[in-house]
Amino acid sequence: MLEIKNLHAGIDGKEILKGLTLTINPGEVHAIMGPNGSGKSTLANVLAGRPRYVATSGEVLYEGKNLLELPPEERAREGVFLAMQYPVEIPGVNNIYFLKAALNAVRKHRGEEELDAMEFLQLAREKMKVVELDEAFMNRGVNEGFSGGEKKRNEIFQMAVLDPKLAILDETDSGLDIDALRIVAQGVNALRSEHHAVLVITHYQRLLRYLVPDFVHVLANGRIVKSGGKELAEELEQKGYDWIEEEVA
């Protein structure tokens, strides 16, 4: 589904990813862990096409297509979703209107019929239950006045509605209490299937207790330096990141 080959990328001329290689197949959940500054968020942003993040060399193939040359909206319509670390507040853009427009753009791209207001509301209500988000939130501006936890849950709610093939979670767990963490994991687990893949980017192992990955990779200094199964996450939690950096050095 996703093939990242020797990716070099950065921001404002500063190289942060220095030859990252990773393959994700349908049905798999991958976790990328790493200390601050290792390039975790850069990877997420490059994959989603955030402006200013530039790939200087290497390749990213998504279902055989060159992902890096698609504008962000095309990536989303092709089924790539980024749950953002810091979701922005957009007062004046109604949450539910925004999400309906997004879903219909995605559906249109897939050659599916657009949903009308009633059909959409029904779907939205169903998905809202999964992330335990109150319906009142839907009539507010996008993320407007949401707490940190509500913003993260709104990301997962959007993901559930848009039903992406590849979901990337950029530190969705940071700053969440245990209940919110459980809800987020619940939302992601509901998406898991043989057709879906998930890339979880995190600093901590906490989320991975609820959202058990198939593979864990350690990112250090812009490269994946170690890969393993879910037990690697526990090892990292106990020992920290220093030993890896030492081992690699």
Binding site: A48, G49, R50, P51, P71, P72, E73, R75, A76, R77, F81, L82, M84, P87, V88, I90, P91, G92, V93, N94, I96, Y97, F98, L99, K100, A101, A102, L103, A105, V106, H109, A117, F120, L121, N139, G141, V142, Q158, L162
Partner: protein
């Protein structure tokens, strides 16, 4: 009749003395009326019908329709005869010009203690080329009375509307005033609004400017009674080579008055916007509270906005703040919308609408809100999904 004739010739004399304002005058620094003076304007003598899609007949408690300055429809059950002279034509040339050529207009008087259900709609339609009109509206709202009044300006052709509206809010009166300028893209529009407020009155005056080749609205507010409160909301959205000018003067004359002003401008293409907002706090106006904000969004590299907030304070016992910003569409929200599959053009439009919607959402009259929403969608650079509010 002779009184009126005398007044007209006096005003005409005054206009002759003052002449057309030029950018050399500080108040007209950013707006040049030269293109307007090249045309030989004439009054329309025919009686045209008043069909317009801007009509809110059936929704308004009362609708008066004027075509090229002539009253052609609507029975005014609130007609009043009070003499009001707060529009200053001694110093204001366009007001003198209006007085010299004065035509029909709405004369409305809401008796003390009367609360008008719904809203009163004054619809001014301009039609044809080379026609000017000088409507004069007088709105007197009695003690403890309450009313919502909407002025709408629409039309087709190269015409010139020079309107004057005087509003007097007596003690504890509540007035919700809308001036919606949706003139033809070839038209000229100068609208002068004068508001005088007595003790504890509460007035909101909303100035929406979407149309016109060159349009300017002046709003002059005199807070002349203790504890009076004014809210000035403004929104100007210009594209092409439109020139949209808003000038406001709030004069705090008495203690404990408050003024809240929020003007937003959206300029695209080669459009130019002006916000010139002055707040005066007189020596007697202790405990004044005043907040003035002007925010502008530029959508192209060639659009221009001149923002000039001014505070003139003559006593120490006041709480005043003002500010102004000029910016572009922010990258973060744009990326956020796009990252969910919304195309760039639509995402931009959504953000422009979001910027403007703060003022639209504050409007209390639903049919007017809807009309402004529709007008905004038409104004936005590309097609907007038509029924934006449907999933609400």
């Amino acid at each position: 009749m002779t009184v009126l004739t005398d007044l007209r010739s006096e005003a005409a004399g005054r206009f002759a003395t003052l002449g057309w304002p030029t950018p050399r005058v500080e108040e007209w620094r950013y707006t040049n009326l030269a293109p307007l003076q090249k045309i030989q304007w004439r009054v329309d003598d025919s009686r045209q019908s008043g069909e317009s899609s801007a009509s809110l007949a059936g929704q308004a408690a009362l609708e008066l329709v004027f075509v090229n300055g002539r009253h052609i429809a609507g029975e005014n059950q609130y007609r009043g005869e009070s003499e009001v002279h707060i529009a200053d034509w001694e110093r204001n040339a366009l007001v003198a010009l209006n007085a010299a050529n004065q035509q029909d207009g709405a004369r409305i008087e809401i008796p003390a203690g009367t609360v008008v259900d719904g809203f009163i709609h004054l619809l001014f339609i301009g039609r044809g080329d080379g026609i000017w009109s000088h409507p004069r509206n007088t709105i007197v709202v009695g003690k403890n009375a309450q009313v919502a009044i909407v002025e709408t300006y629409v039309g087709t052709g190269t015409y010139f509307t020079n309107s004057v509206t005087e509003i007097v809010a007596d003690e504890s009166a509540v007035v919700d005033h809308y001036k919606i300028e949706c003139e033809s893209r070839d038209a000229f529009h100068i609208g002068s609004v004068f508001i005088r407020q007595e003790r504890a009155s509460n007035v909101t005056s909303r100035n929406i400017a979407l149309g016109g080749a060159l349009a300017r609205t002046e709003t002059h507010v005199a807070l002349a009674g203790e504890g009076a409160s004014i809210t000035l909301d403004g929104l100007f959205v210009g594209a092409g080579s439109q020139h949209l000018d808003s000038r406001t003067v709030i004069d705090h004359l008495e203690p404990h008055c408050e003024s809240f002003e929020l003007y937003k401008g959206v300029l695209d293409d080669n459009a130019r916007g002006v916000f010139d907002g002055k707040i005066i706090v007189r020596p007697d106006a202790q405990k004044t509270v005043s907040r003035q904000v002007n925010r502008n969004l530029l959508l192209s590299e060639t659009a221009i906005v001149d923002s000039k907030p001014t505070l003139e304070i003559h006593n120490d016992d006041v709480k005043c703040n003002h500010g102004s910003t000029i910016g572009q569409i922010e990258q973060e929200p744009l990326f956020y919308l796009r990252s969910r599959g919304i195309g760039e053009e639509e995402a931009r439009n959504l953000l422009v609408y979001a910027f403007a919607s703060e003022l639209v959402d504050r409007m209390k009259i639903e049919p007017v809100r809807e009309q402004i929403r529709r007008a905004l969608f038409q104004t936005l650079p590309q097609r907007m999904p038509e029924r934006r509010g449907e999933a609400r």
